[in-house]
Amino acid sequence: MLNLADAAVSPTAESSATRFDALFQRFYSELFGLVYRVLGDRMETEDTLQETFLKLSDDAGLQARPDPEVGAWLRRVAINLAFNRLRSAKRARARIERVGRLERSDEEPTDSEMLGPAGLLVRHEEQAAVRRALAEVPERQRDCLLLRHSGYSYAEIAMTQGIAIGSVGVLLARAEHAFRTTYRRQTPQ
């Protein structure tokens, strides 16, 4: 239901295509930021978002729901797919190889110039440590942490996780403490 080609099937298809476009334009960039934090690789992030929006494109009923609800659904699916991707042993191997090859290219040029090769290596180690710690936090807390520190409001977090807005603070507080404890254990100073 995405393009003119489908209009032949249904007279409402064109407006449905417009609706999907609007959702894509509204949410693509912010979901990119969210998923990139999990995966740390632009191509993996793009692939995850392709998968996420493909699922949305298959569900006309979902697209018809209000934007905040669709946004919550997209975030939920994107986060799950991102962590699945991270877990998948096969993809992880490919990813390690690719990140290795792309090490220079995926880095901002200003960063590489400012940090130098040694600085970049340290930066990658630090990023890996954060991701390792995040992966050890219980799932609900982990998602809450990720959403909050990607800039989402409590209302958006509550809707994404299907919890009461009043529960977000507790979940977040516990998540931050759990993360900090794990992170400290992994990177003893």
Binding site: N3, A5, Y28, G40, S57, S105, Y154, G169, L172, F179
Partner: protein
């Protein structure tokens, strides 16, 4: 009393207060009087600050977020995947037709892939604009690219062009290389994936003229002076109108367009020339440079329909952005000018001369990371692109010669 009591707000409330997510006045009053809660808040703040600092390392940063043009390309790729309906989700990356070192300038190249596809449909339109009809005067049956001009496109109009192009299949049959039917854009992607490694001599033979190379002294430092040479085969896309199919489709989309009988079976033939790519750089070099050379792109029409009639029909297609159509109409030498869509949110462009009086385009990535040049000379198209500043790139373009 140094520990919170049952009457004190719980940690969730305090955490929300730190984020200004709850009403503050009453809580602040309580905090002023309760050392226990002050202790809780101090710990919460410490944890939150710590996590914030750690997560800042993971942020893609403003520069790393996809531009609107990136999003438009992703949107098009999504559509393509939907239509292919194959389980593998990342065919482009899995096959990696473009060397990995080019990923530094990957965004412009991904844009370029779409731009080439868009250029084809734009060329068809250029061939058949109203001004074109007057010029045609019955003897110009053909479009042959001899020069280039910039057409400014926004991500939105780019998406619209691609969608219209890809909807051509509803008006007839699109035949791609190898007898396949499908979407024109897929044919172009397919051609780029069929690139074969060759020697300079082999590549010259494939494209039909002697390849030129840049002055090695001007190449970026650290770049291998010997290029990797690849040849992309020529290809032809044929689009044959089907009156019944087109009428049904247009009716179903709510557009009252009458399709004359003679359109039935009329065929547009777009011949994309064989192209050679010289790639300078390797896995460990910071800089990358590509020099591309190809012949003319030719658009013909077969059947009872003339170009101007084809124009009327194509311009009546729903979905083409008027701003783009207007720019096309202003091209004077329509029958030999290849329009190059320039995504203006991502690139600056200027018209400039290369190798003497050969007019062309110099494109500059807004971020200053990459630039590109494209021009026609003696019926041959030349393109240079790289992770270089535009002035350096222009010098390399000027140095191209048969060596």
């Amino acid at each position: 009393m140094n520990t919170p009591s049952a009457a004190c707000p719980d940690i969730g409330v305090w955490r929300a207060w730190l984020d200004r997510e709850v009403d503050a006045a009453q809580l602040e009053e309580h905090l002023a009087q309760c050392p226990g809660c002050r202790g809780v808040v101090a710990l919460l703040r410490e944890d939150a600050d710590h996590v914030r600092a750690a997560f800042a390392l993971l942020s893609p940063g403003q520069a790393g977020l996809p531009s609107t043009a990136d999003a438009a390309v992703a949107r098009e790729r999504l559509e393509w995947q939907r239509r292919r309906s194959v389980p593998e989700l990342s065919p482009l990356y899995a096959q990696e037709p473009i060397p990995m070192f080019l990923s530094r300038i990957s965004t412009p190249w991904r844009i370029a892939a779409s731009a080439v596809a868009a250029a084809v449909v734009l060329s068809i339109l250029v061939s058949v604009t109203p001004e074109g009809r007057a010029l045609a005067a019955g003897f110009l049956a053909q479009f042959r690219s001899q020069q280039v001009t910039a057409i400014e496109v926004t991500p939105q109009s780019q998406t619209e062009i691609m969608r219209t192009l890809n909807a051509l299949g509803n008006l007839g049959t699109v035949n791609m290389p190898g007898g396949q039917t499908g979407r024109p854009e897929a044919a172009i992607r397919n051609a780029s994936e069929q690139a074969k490694t060759a020697t300079l001599a082999e590549a010259s033979q494939a494209i039909g003229f002697k390849l030129e190379t840049p002055d090695p002294a001007l190449l970026p430092t650290g770049v291998d002076k010997t290029p990797r040479v690849q040849v992309m085969p020529s290809s032809q896309i044929r689009f044959t109108f089907d009156k019944t199919k087109a009428s049904n489709y247009l009716k179903s989309t709510g557009h009252e367009v009458t399709v004359p009988d003679k359109f039935d079976g009329a065929t547009l033939v777009v011949s994309i020339p064989s192209a050679a790519l010289l790639q300078y750089g390797n896995g460990s070099s910071k800089e990358a440079l590509i020099v591309g050379q190809a012949g003319e792109l030719v658009v013909d029409v077969e059947g009872k329909v003339k170009l101007d009639e084809m124009r009327d029909f194509l311009l009546s297609l729903p979905g083409l952005p008027p701003t783009v159509v207007n720019q096309l109409k202003q091209i004077k030498t329509w029958n030999q000018t290849l329009p190059i869509p320039v995504p203006v949110d991502q690139m600056n462009w200027q018209s400039t001369n290369f190798h003497g009086n050969n007019q062309g385009l110099l494109l500059n990535d807004n971020s200053g990371v990459g630039s590109a040049a494209i021009w026609y000379e003696s019926g041959h198209m030349y393109g240079v692109a790289g992770s270089l500043r535009a002035d350096k790139l222009k010098a390399i373009a000027e140095s191209l010669a048969v060596r």
